[in-house]
C-alpha cells in the first residue's frame, strides 16, 4: 500500500502508547521514521510545537500535520491506510471496540501505575483491582483468539503494549498474570507470536530496569 507521503513518529521506546502506533503502522505496511524523544533530558522543539497541549509522545506527523493521543492516532491510521482493516466492519462492533479501548485507557494504566508507584509492599487491594480488571477483559475476550475475533485488530493493538509493563508489575505485586488470568496470558502469547508485535515490544527486563530508575528518581525506592 502506498505510503501516501511522509510519516514521522515522535517516539519513546518504553511508552506503551507509542508502541500502539508502531504496531498499527506495521500492520498497514506503512514506512515511517521514528525519532526518539529524550523525555527526561529535554523534549524536542518539534514535540513541543506539535503537541503544545500535552507535550507528550506519541505524535504522528503525516506530511507535517501532527496527530496526538494514541487511540486517535490508531483510528486515523486505520482510516487513512484502509488495508487490512483494524476496526470491525459493523457499527456495533466498532462501538464495542471503542468501549473496551476506553475501559483499557481508564482502568489498566491507572491500576498499573498504582502498583508501580507503591513505596514498600503493594497493598492487597491494588493487586486485587489489577487482576479484576484483567478478568473483566477476559470476559470480553471470551472464546475468541483475539479481541477483534479471528484476526488481530484495533483492540488487541490498544491493549498488548500495556502488557510490556506486566513484568515489573508482577515482580512488585508478587503475583503472576499466567496463574491469575490464564486466558489473558494465552491471548498475550498469541499476540507476541506476531512479528509486528514482537518487533515493537521491548525486552521486559529493560522495562523493569527503567521502572527501577524512575522510582529512584521519584524517591520511591
Amino acid at each position: 500500500m502506498s505510503n501516501l507521503g511522509e510519516v514521522v513518529l515522535l517516539d519513546c521506546w518504553v511508552s506503551p502508547f507509542c508502541m500502539r502506533v508502531k504496531i498499527a503502522l506495521a500492520e498497514k505496511g506503512v514506512e515511517y521514521e521514528a525519532r526518539a524523544e529524550d523525555l527526561f533530558g529535554g523534549k524536542s522543539d518539534l514535540l513541543l510545537t506539535s503537541n503544545p497541549i500535552y507535550k507528550k509522545v506519541p505524535v504522528l506527523l503525516h506530511n507535517g500535520k501532527p496527530l496526538c493521543e494514541s487511540t486517535v492516532i490508531v483510528g486515523y491510521i486505520d482510516e487513512t491506510w484502509s488495508s487490512p482493516p483494524l476496526l470491525p466492519t459493523s457499527a456495533y462492533g466498532r462501538a464495542q471496540a471503542h468501549f473496551w479501548a476506553d475501559f483499557i485507557d481508564k482502568k489498566v494504566f491507572e491500576a498499573s501505575y498504582k502498583i508501580l508507584t507503591c513505596k514498600g509492599e503493594v497493598p492487597e487491594t491494588a493487586k486485587k483491582d489489577f487482576i479484576e480488571i484483567l478478568k473483566q477483559l477476559e470476559g470480553s475476550l471470551g472464546e475468541k483468539d483475539f479481541f477483534g475475533g479471528d484476526s488481530f485488530g484495533f483492540l488487541d493493538i490498544i491493549l498488548i503494549p500495556l502488557t510490556s509493563w506486566f513484568y515489573p508489575i508482577e515482580k512488585f505485586g508478587g503475583f503472576e498474570v499466567k496463574e491469575e488470568c490464564p486466558k489473558f496470558s494465552a491471548w498475550m502469547n498469541r499476540c507476541m507470536q506476531r512479528e509486528n508485535v514482537a518487533n515493537v515490544l521491548p525486552d521486559p527486563e529493560k522495562v523493569y530496569e527503567f521502572v527501577i530508575m524512575v522510582r529512584k528518581m521519584q524517591g520511591i525506592e
Binding site: H62, E69, V72, I73, E79, Y92, R94, H98
Partner: protein, 230 residues
C-alpha cells in the same frame, strides 16, 4: 424505525446524556427517553451497562451502546444519511476526536475544581485554569469552523456536540461564581458559537435552562454533602 426500537437511558441535567439526544435529533430519529431517578439506578441501566453502571446508554433494538461519544459515533454510522456528524476527512476526524477528548479529560475536571476549590484564592486559580482551557478551544474553533458558525463548519458536528453539552454547566458556574468564563474579550468566537449552538433545533429542547440547572446543582451539592444512604 419505530420509536420503541431506540431508547436513551439518561437524565436531563447530564451533559453526557445530551450528546446522544442531540445526535438522534440531527438524524431525525425518534427515540424513547427513559429517565433515571436521581439517587438510584434502574435494573435496565445495571443490565445494559454492567461495567460502568452509568448513563447515557443507547439501546438500539436489544443492543446497548455505552459511553456518550462512542454512542454519537455509532448513531452517525448507523443512520448514515446526511447530515453527517463526524467530518468526512480522516485528519479532521482525528482533530475533532482529539478536542472532544480534551474537553472530557481536561476542561470538565477543571470546571469541577472550581466547585471543590476552598477559599477565594483557590477559586480564582481554578477559574483561571478553565479560562485558559477555553482560550485554547477558541483557537481550535477558529481553525475547525473554517468560517462557519460551528466547529463542524456550516453544520453542527461531533465537536459541537462534545463541547456544547457543557455550555449549560458553564453558565451555571458563571452564575454561582459571578464570573464570565465565555467572555467577549478572550473568547469572542465561542460566545457567538454558544448562542448558535443552544438555539439550534437539534439542541434547544434538550439543553436545560440555566436556572433549572442551577437549582439542580444545589440539590446535587446537598446530596453530596449528606451521608450516603445505608
Amino acid at each position: 424505525m419505530a420509536k420503541s426500537d431506540v431508547k436513551v437511558l439518561g437524565a436531563w441535567p447530564s451533559p453526557f446524556v445530551m450528546r446522544p439526544r442531540i445526535a438522534l435529533n440531527i438524524k431525525s430519529v425518534d427515540y424513547e427517553f427513559l429517565q433515571e431517578t436521581f439517587g438510584s439506578k434502574s435494573e435496565l441501566l445495571l443490565k445494559s451497562n454492567p461495567v460502568h453502571k452509568k448513563i447515557p446508554v443507547l439501546i438500539h433494538g436489544d443492543k446497548p451502546v455505552c459511553e456518550s461519544l462512542i454512542i454519537v459515533e455509532y448513531i452517525d454510522e448507523v443512520w448514515s444519511s446526511a447530515p453527517s456528524i463526524l467530518p468526512s476527512n480522516p485528519y479532521d476526524r482525528a482533530t475533532a476526536r482529539f478536542w472532544a477528548s480534551y474537553v472530557d479529560e481536561k476542561l470538565f475536571p477543571s470546571m469541577k475544581e472550581i466547585v471543590s476549590a476552598d477559599g477565594e484564592e483557590a477559586k480564582k486559580a481554578a477559574i483561571q485554569v478553565v479560562v485558559d482551557g477555553l482560550v485554547l478551544l477558541e483557537d481550535a474553533y477558529a481553525k475547525c469552523s473554517k468560517g462557519g458558525k460551528f466547529f463542524g463548519g456550516e453544520q453542527i458536528g461531533y465537536l459541537d456536540i462534545a463541547f456544547g453539552s457543557y455550555v449549560g454547566w458553564l453558565r451555571v458556574t458563571e452564575k454561582f461564581n459571578q464570573v464570565k468564563l465565555l467572555d467577549e474579550a478572550k473568547t469572542p468566537g465561542l460566545v457567538k458559537w454558544a448562542e448558535a449552538f443552544c438555539a439550534h433545533p437539534a439542541v434547544k429542547d434538550v439543553m436545560p435552562e440555566t436556572d433549572k440547572l442551577a437549582e439542580f446543582a444545589k440539590v446535587l451539592a446537598k446530596a453530596r454533602a449528606a451521608p450516603p444512604p445505608k
